[in-house]
């Protein structure tokens, strides 16, 4: 792995006795789209603000390629931050806003106006150059905030829930645009959100935060398929949880016993230990069949139709309620309430979790 463009080491931030960040270690790679994902109050903004230099750490450090930057003021770090409320300067026009970081850096007049035009083009806002920020819609303001942050070619762009104030449709459009912008410019993005779909669809890598600690980090599909903890499994998508006993075979293969059956499991994270273990199971990985066709027997309690798929709640004597996401185009079985069904899954569908 190449040198990280930025590293956070053993970062702790306390407010009184409260730990907003608790021993966070994070490496950011050059050019990646990194997302900080977590529930409200998990410390996402705090971490971003520590990287930007607005919040001093209680202990720990932040390193860039040049060395320790923990004590450097924000203006010397060369990162740009896009705020949730955009923070466009209300006393300046759109063009002056975009020119601001260049003016601060004492660029030449002509270079500034060229670059401003270029950046406004980039976000398709060229015709709004002379407006005041208050005359723009939320989505337009967001684009200007982006243009302003990108104009001085920062090493890292920090974005704190930049789309959360926009309506759903506009959000989806801007997600595509942001992603395209990232791919085109090759700037490192550190993106904060509490929306798991946004995180999954945009990121190269996701870092999941909870209570000021990193729960797990990895590529979106990695995190989705191989959650390490119950928190990650339930925060990123939906999961069923099954109590089982894991047995390690002499050849290293793993088996789990649950519901009176024994089935093989895979240990992608290397966290499984013998003994009582909770397994996470994604609803869409479960197959439904006629009674007797699959390993476990159950009875349909409730169905909710969602178009391409339907959510089926199946009661099982030992597991309790199992949520199945069943394709509606499936012709072999059409679940309906009170129908007896059987269900099962492929090897690898059950993920052993770290015991709490």
């Amino acid at each position: 792995m190449p040198d990280p463009i930025l590293s956070v080491r053993k970062a702790v931030k306390t407010y009184g006795a409260f730990h907003a960040l608790n021993d966070v270690d994070l490496d950011i790679r050059e050019g990646e789209f990194l997302t900080l994902l977590g529930p409200s109050g998990s410390g996402k903004t705090t971490l971003l603000s520590v990287i930007a230099g607005f919040t001093p750490l209680t202990s720990g450090s932040v390193h860039a390629r040049g060395g320790d930057i923990s004590r450097l003021p924000p203006e010397k770090r060369g990162f740009a931050m896009v705020f949730q409320g955009y923070a466009l300067f209300p006393t300046m026009t759109v063009a002056e806003n975009v020119a601001y970081p260049l003016r601060v850096r004492q660029w030449k007049r002509q270079d500034i106006s060229d670059r401003v035009a270029e950046c406004l083009d980039l976000v398709q806002m060229a015709q709004f150059a002379d407006r005041m920020p208050s005359q723009l819609s939320g989505g337009q303001q967001q684009r200007i905030a982006l243009a302003r942050s990108l104009s001085f070619k920062p090493d890292i762009l920090l974005l704190d829930e930049p789309l959360s104030a926009l309506d759903k449709k506009l959000r989806a459009d801007l997600q595509w645009e942001l992603k395209a912008l990232h791919d085109r410019l090759g700037v490192t993005f550190v993106y904060v959100t509490h929306d798991q779909e946004e995180a999954l669809s945009m990121s190269d890598r996701i870092v999941i935060l909870n209570d000021g600690q990193i729960q797990q980090q990895g590529a979106p599909d990695d995190l989705y398929n191989w959650p390490r903890t119950e928190f990650v499994a339930s925060f990123l998508g939906k999961s069923n949880f099954i109590n089982s006993v894991v047995l390690k075979g002499a050849d290293g293969t793993l088996k789990a016993q649950a519901g009176g059956h024994e089935f093989p499991i895979e240990d992608h994270n290397g966290t499984a230990v013998s003994g009582e273990t909770c397994l996470a199971l994604r609803p869409e990985r479960i197959r439904l069949g006629a009674p007797g066709a699959e390993m476990f027997e159950g009875r349909v309690r409730q169905i909710s139709y969602l178009g391409e798929r339907c959510q089926v709640l199946v009661d099982h004597a030992e597991f309790g309620e199992i949520l199945v996401s069943h394709p509606t185009w499936h012709v072999d079985i059409r679940p309906e309430p009170h129908l007896n069904v059987s269900f099962g899954w492929e090897r690898g569908a059950c993920v052993p979790l770290l015991s709490a």
Binding site: P74, A80, F89, T91, S149
Partner: protein, 277 residues
């Protein structure tokens, strides 16, 4: 009955009081200024020719201007501190700003006399510490008037600025710094321009109030610093010169109106006088 009539009925008592006790007397003063002692514009020609009147007007505008500038300088720092450094003492500071509103101007002015007099606290303290040997004059002159005026007017400058500053999110300055501006530059180019409406409001309020202010200049000036309100009182009480007194009042009214008219081009007057927080 239509709704408009309702509103008028509600406003009627206050309106009646205004007309009987304010508008009517003011109109009378206009009348007196052109009828006493003889009909015509004599009072106005006398006023424009009088050196003493000119001196008093210049003095009034100078004191009002200096008071305004001092209040804005002191008030800006105070408002900035209160709104940007939230600590446990913030409510206390706010309380101290508002406190003078509950103490009569008369009491506060007398308090300054106690402090600034020949054998007042300030002089005593300076003599005791050996910094001076005989009392210095800090009262019954322009300096004394200014000190007390700044004190009396300060809350009027602070409150509009405070309201304005509290509405400015700290993300603007953060954004500016993130974009490369130093702390000072971010303040100067991003924060300060946003506080200008508050500065103008506070300044205008202090200036207009100072122009017609009576009690404090009269007490602290001791008859030696004759601002226009005191000059008017003097003409009427000492010389029973109603005509000239009335003409001077009209002049002050017109001057104040002119100030507001000019200011109205830069400041939202409605906001300044009606929506103070």
């Amino acid at each position: 009955m239509n709704e408009k009539l309702h509103y008028w009925m509600l406003a009627l008592p206050a309106l009646a009081v205004m007309i009987v006790f304010y508008i009517w007397p003011v109109l009378n003063i206009w009348g007196i200024s052109v009828t006493e002692p003889s009909t015509g514009l004599d009072n106005y020609t006398r006023m424009f020719d009088s050196n003493a009147v000119r001196v008093s007007f210049v003095l009034t505008f100078r004191i009002a201007a200096v008071t305004t500038i001092m209040c804005l300088l002191l008030g800006y720092v105070l408002a900035y501190t209160i709104s940007n450094f939230a600590t446990r003492v913030t409510p206390l500071m706010l309380g101290l700003v508002l406190l003078p509103f509950w103490v009569s101007v008369l009491v506060r002015s007398f308090a300054w006399i106690v402090l600034l007099g020949r054998s007042g606290l300030v002089n005593d303290a300076l003599i005791d510490t050996g910094l001076i040997t005989s009392p210095i004059r800090i009262m019954h002159n322009e300096l004394g008037v200014l000190i007390a005026m700044v004190h009396v007017m300060l809350p009027f400058a602070v409150l509009p600025m405070l309201t304005n500053m509290r509405g400015i999110d700290d993300s603007y300055v953060k954004a500016a710094r993130g974009l490369g501006a130093s702390e000072w530059r971010a303040f100067r180019e991003v924060y300060f321009p946003q506080t200008l409406p508050g500065v103008f409001s506070g300044g205008l309020l202090v200036f207009v109030l100072s122009l017609g202010f009576y009690i404090t200049p009269a007490l602290l000036g001791g008859g030696r610093v004759m601002m226009i309100s005191e000059y008017i009182t003097y003409q009427i009480q000492e010389f029973l010169n109603w005509g000239l007194g009335a003409a001077l009042s009209v002049a002050l009214l017109v001057a104040t109106a002119l100030v507001l008219l000019v200011a109205g081009r830069f400041v939202n007057l409605r906001k300044t006088f009606l929506e103070r927080g």
